[in-house]
């Protein structure tokens, strides 16, 4: 790394991984310094998008609130989630893990 200097042992290990990391196809041979972060909900295990055989959501393994959470975090799809850029930046502050903490997501009124 040119701009960051690894100081402790963990940073040195991360640097070692970064130097030998796999790169995405579009980066071409030799990799490059660009990011290769998987984008979008198709990369995320998220059964919350499904409906059950009757078209309902109540019996699914994850609560329907999980859908909202996914829209807010990982997707461009316009959904009814609070405006986290302007009015409600902290609405999920108490929700570290959607599966466990979805009950703690704040209610936000416009």
């Amino acid at each position: 790394m040119r701009h960051l200097k690894s100081i402790n042992q963990k940073a040195q290990r991360i640097e070692g991984v970064l130097q030998n990391d796999v790169v995405a196809l579009q980066q071409g041979p030799g990799g490059g310094t660009g990011p290769h972060v998987p984008l979008g909900c198709s990369f995320v295990f998220s059964p919350g998008w499904e409906v059950d055989s009757n078209g309902g959501t109540a019996g699914l393994c994850q609560p329907v609130e999980r859908d909202l959470f996914d829209c807010h975090l990982t997707c461009f799809w316009p959904a009814h989630v609070p405006d986290l850029y302007n009015h409600a930046p902290d609405w999920t502050a108490k929700c570290a893990s959607a599966q466990k903490d979805w009950r703690k997501i704040d209610l936000v009124f416009p």
Partner: protein, 470 residues
Amino acid sequence: MMLRRGEYHTFSGADARYLYLVPSAAVVELDDVSHAVLETLAGGDRTANDLAESLSSRWSGDEIRSSIGELLGVRAIQSVAAPPVTPPTVKAKRSIPLQTLVLNVTSKCNLSCGYCYEYGEDRIVESTTKPRFMDEATAKQSVDFMFAEAGDSPSVNLTFFGGETLLNFKMLKSALAYAKQRGAELGKQVHASLTTNATLLREEIVDWFIENDVGVTVSIDGAREQQDKFRVFSNGMGSYDIILPRIKDLLARHKRRPVGARVTLTGQNLDVVSIYRHLFEEIGFWEVGFAPVTTSWQRDYAIEDEGFRQLLAGFQTLAAEYLEVSLAGRRHGFSNVRDTLEEIHKGMSKSHPCGAGFGLLGVATDGDVALCHRFAGSDSHKLGSVFNGVDHAAQATFLETHHIDNKTDCSTCWARPLCAGGCYHEAHTRYGTTTQPNLHYCEWIRAWTNTCLEVYGTLAAKRPDFLEHL
């Protein structure tokens, strides 16, 4: 691509700027470009092009983009659209090799320290149904248990704790002799250590320490006035004058292993600088470690907000002194800072606050096994017994329920890689449950961790060779 800042804590040392990355616990030094990129992102999310443009008067686009690439690599910044990065939860292996076994050799003590969790109002040990002393058969069984649970580890640590350990000196001798004999047969090294209040030290005992390389920690709260506030005999008489000559004799003769002092801080005893001066400089302990008393908040010896501030100021004074002395190439004995520096240097990111229930277990006087010595003897925290082995199902459940991922309050704290919610026993005493993070000292932990990071950063800039010896 829209970028946002990732999770990190900034700090400086000498003239260098650093990031402490969370949750990886990596420490990196920033150059001017990277610092400017992060400063700009602190004002709000930006695209990479936007960032390059706003900083174009100072650096070329390529320079800025390569800095962004590195910051993304270490996750100091992230794509807004990227899913939150959840570190994989490492499941505990079925069998975790035991490294340290703490034997509570007696629950009796010849002192009556007012704040003691073993006897005081906050006690959890079932003292009425358990034997007061561990017998030799149970101790031997514990040693066999230790080797059986240690798996392939080439060495094991056997620690004696109490009550006052030296009240059961006869058993200590036979237990350690047996452990050394079994260790030799099995090709494993045995390291022994103990904690004592020093009241019962005598020549024969110090000889035994020397012959067996026993590491000794003395519980002592400072000079006479500080020591005699709480560390008294049952008739109220202070213990300082009894222990001082014994400690001096111990320090003069036992040179095989460093002898440390362990200080319990209370609302009435918070002057860590003067305590340190007395124990390190005047008495001559190798190192001095401090811990706030474990207590529920109602007790009058509990440390409250103002006390924590005073404590922090004292710790910071000693940390600054530690830095100065270390830069000069000498040794300072403030062990709290040294221990934290070591964890920072390794980049420890803890799934659990300590090794209790993993590589460390405590044994009660009757052979019941618990998380650590503080829970040994509490039936509700039992994890098996030395006679029947570790209850692996209970152990796995404990480790799963106490994983940092289950502590929602900690999920936004930058100090969680080092703290991980803090001591289980402290939480149990304060909140009645081991699963609760110790929210009463969060601010203290963050301030203290920041101080240690600054000491670390300064050493990294001025004496990188020092870090190699951590």
